[in-house]
Subunit: 488 residues, 2 copies
């Protein structure tokens, strides 16, 4: 191994990153001009004296940077242009925000999932959105003609359309939340709400307490803003509120993020008593709470207890709602309820980011809330989700009765499935993907998870797809468990 | 002055910032609990031994943080709650991104302008958006019912709806731009395009060359991302391309940002010869170009020369378009055209930020482009803008013939007005605002501007408002010039 290829093994910079940077240097300096065929993975592994998997990581990054490209029959060649070199020279915040450690495979998995979801033929067993046929696209378009006169195509106010905020104020009151229009900010979906909170209210390096597992671990923007989710253990009633005080002190957490209604990914519903306890502890600890209630309207058996925000007398709770799970993610419309100074700050950042949310979406949502169409739609959607939940339960009992454990959620989309045999879920994911079935491994929601879990969703796949998917899933689990006596 | 109030005058931290931090400390420690009436500005100025204007800056920040509140008859009191304390503890990126120097008053002015625009009664003489009555809100709603069947309310692909990208590909071809749908990214308006570029392609501290003056100086997100706009001098044909090479080397600029068609704020149209020269220089210098063409469709006399992107053979130009100026800012819809690896990177960041742009907006724009409604609308809009341009010219000749200089733009919205007497534009802004007239001072677009300029727009104010506004403007300029022989 010549010096040219020598890596610094005592450095904090991971080896794959060093290799990446070394190759970027060769491309930038002109040593490897555009069109150069670069050495094979095997050759690079030998020259650098590392495992081939390390080379694969480095090449993946270079490929994501647009600096190299694999061509059939030609191997891998340098494909840079000026823009790409700039792109690759970026600060690490977005591209390589987690240079090492447990999060990396997690994020790699999320990228694989996102990529697979672009394939329209894929069978999605865990996707967190309602199937297109459950969304009232046609009805929405037709309904809008009645209200054409009140649409404005100008910029809306910084907090969003006043009409929509007034309408939401009434809608929230029905949940027990007393929110003036001035304390509501319209955002482009729940993800943007999290981004605004990360940018506007948190330090780089802040810790956030959250359920373990939690959707928050799958949110790239949280990690790229340098925010550390810290998992609080759960029982069947949700996160253990009594642990919050000591965990806050241990982690110096800046806030708590929680999904009390139909938690993602566990489906758990926090009962009223636990909610009261949680709020009590948080008030005592002066621990601000972000309450994510995007599944709240999707109760299937009975209405959930009032949100934490409804019990909040001290402005401690920042509340997030959205139309993405109930009326359509394509609307890109959600809201934040918070004390006015916080709303002002977040509105300011939002205006600097995108000048507001689509006027068409704001108009459509106001219209559907005001005319009662939203409530009608929810009734139908709940009936459909109930059928789907029942069917998935039947399938799980039929094919996986002895191989897995689960409990049925009282609302939302998700079944948190524990697989009894100690299989490698990543292996299961790969095998299923080869068969055209997309799974959501539990590690996406808890990088430290040491038992095999999957997040299943009954909201997306059709009945036929669910049957096929759960049946194949059971067979693959058998196979990986080294057990050939497959059920059925 | 006791030690408690002693400031560090040798520190890089500006005095107002030190004062701000000192007061935050008092609030956080509990020394000044909620409801505490804080000392008056005069008292604080004495205790800290600074000018009162420094105190005003510090209190403005505290007020923006939500930590203090002025109440009529009660003075200024501490109004914090837990959220606010967190908010005030933010890293400086967003809140105090420019701690000192020329940009600060500039940004303060922009905030004043944004605030004034929230007042529906304000007379806007420089606003960069079309008047609501020029936008086809009603027609858009009515038209959508015909195409209800093709709407999807699901998430769209990461680059945006394929249908819209295919439609845009044809629309761009008519401008001479050969862009495959895979090299187009749908974004939520031109501002988001700039944000994605700043986050995805630039380092913190990168310099960008741009026209002097330039819209870019008014864009908060550019500054909060730590990007330094560097002004390139202009003549009547736009920026001086021959200066780019030396300026690139001097500033180590990462790219050029330019608005060749109907430049904001000067209205300048770059002729074909200058475009060719510019591209030639940029290719020679390997200087990537961001071409902002959001006004391109708003030509009033004749079609502009082809965009830089149409002449780009090397993937050097990243092109930005938008429906905000022509069809409606409320749609929040724009696009980026760039080499595929760049689009992939920006699409990835966009997905992490807001999961895409409103499906309703994407649907409406595709529909209007495909059916020819967009072109019809443009014809009508151009006719209307022509009338307005002519009327504003008449008014300027009538009231300000000898007091100012301007030339009529061949498209877009803006007239760049140079006031002949050396008045304080900030003073003019304040006086006009007191009369309910909102101006856009030239310093917003060039913080180093040492002559009195205003950006006027004929797109927003009504004919009556223009008459009143220009007349009053002329009177105020006379007054500030110490000249009482007001014209007419």
């Amino acid at each position: 191994m010549t010096e040219e290829w020598l890596l610094d093994r005592s450095s904090d910079t991971p080896l794959y990153q060093q290799i990446h940077d070394r190759i970027v240097g060769k491309i930038r300096s002109g040593a490897w001009p555009v069109g150069t065929k670069i050495p094979t993975q095997r050759e690079l592994a030998e020259r650098f004296g590392v495992n081939r998997s390390t080379i694969v990581y480095a090449l993946d990054e270079l490929s994501a940077d647009g600096l190299i490209q694999s061509k059939v029959g030609q191997g891998t060649v340098v494909a840079n242009n000026t823009w790409n070199v700039i792109a690759s020279a970026r600060t690490p915040d977005w591209g390589r925000y987690v240079a090492a450690g447990a999060h990396r495979p997690n994020q790699q998995l999320i990228q694989l999932i996102n990529k697979a979801e672009e394939n329209p033929a894929i069978l999605r067993l865990g996707t967190g959105e309602p199937a297109p046929e459950l969304l009232p696209a046609r009805a929405m378009m037709l309904s809008l003609q009645n209200s054409a006169a009140s649409l404005s195509l100008s910029y809306s106010e910084p907090r969003g359309s006043l009409r929509l905020r007034e309408t939401l104020s009434r809608y929230l009151l029905a949940k027990g939340i007393n929110a003036a229009p001035s304390s509501i900010l319209i955002v482009s979906g729940g993800l943007q709400a999290l981004q605004l909170i990360a940018l506007g209210l948190l330090h780089d390096g802040s810790a956030i307490l959250t359920e373990s597992p939690s959707y928050l671990n799958s949110v790239h923007v949280v990690q790229s803003a340098g925010i550390r989710p810290c998992g609080v253990p759960m029982d069947k009633d949700g996160l253990l509120a009594r642990r919050l005080g000591s965990m806050k002190r241990k982690t110096d957490a800046a806030m708590l993020y929680t999904i009390p209604a139909f938690h993602n990914p566990t489906g758990c519903l926090m009962p009223a008593a636990r909610r009261e306890e949680l709020l009590h502890v948080c008030m005592h600890e002066r621990l601000p709470v972000v309450e994510d209630d995007v599944y709240g309207d999707l109760w299937l058996d009975e209405e959930p207890p009032p949100p934490l925000k409804a019990m909040d007398r001290e402005g401690l709770v920042l509340y997030i709602g959205s139309m993405s799970k109930s009326l359509g993610p394509g609307l890109r419309l959600g809201w934040i309820v918070a004390p006015v100074p916080v709303i002002d700050r977040l509105a300011d950042i939002k205006m600097q980011t995108d000048y507001g949310t689509s006027a068409l979406s704001q108009h459509a949502v106001a219209e559907w809330l005001e005319t009662g169409r939203y409530d009608e739609h929810l009734s139908g959607l709940r009936a459909e989700l109930r059928r789907r939940r029942g069917y998935m339960d039947t399938l799980l009992n039929r094919y996986m009765g002895s191989r897995a454990e689960w409990s049925l959620p009282q609302g939302g989309f998700y079944i948190w499935l524990r697989i009894r045999s100690p299989i490698q879920v990543r292996r299961l994911f790969d095998l299923a993907l080869k068969e055209g079935i997309l799974l959501h491994p539990g590690s996406v929601y808890d990088p430290g998870l040491d038992e095999p879990y999957l997040r299943l969703s009954y909201a997306y796949a059709s009945f036929d797809q669910m049957e096929l998917g759960i049946r194949r899933l059971a067979a693959l689990i058998s196979q990986l468990s080294g057990d050939n006596t497959q059920e059925l």
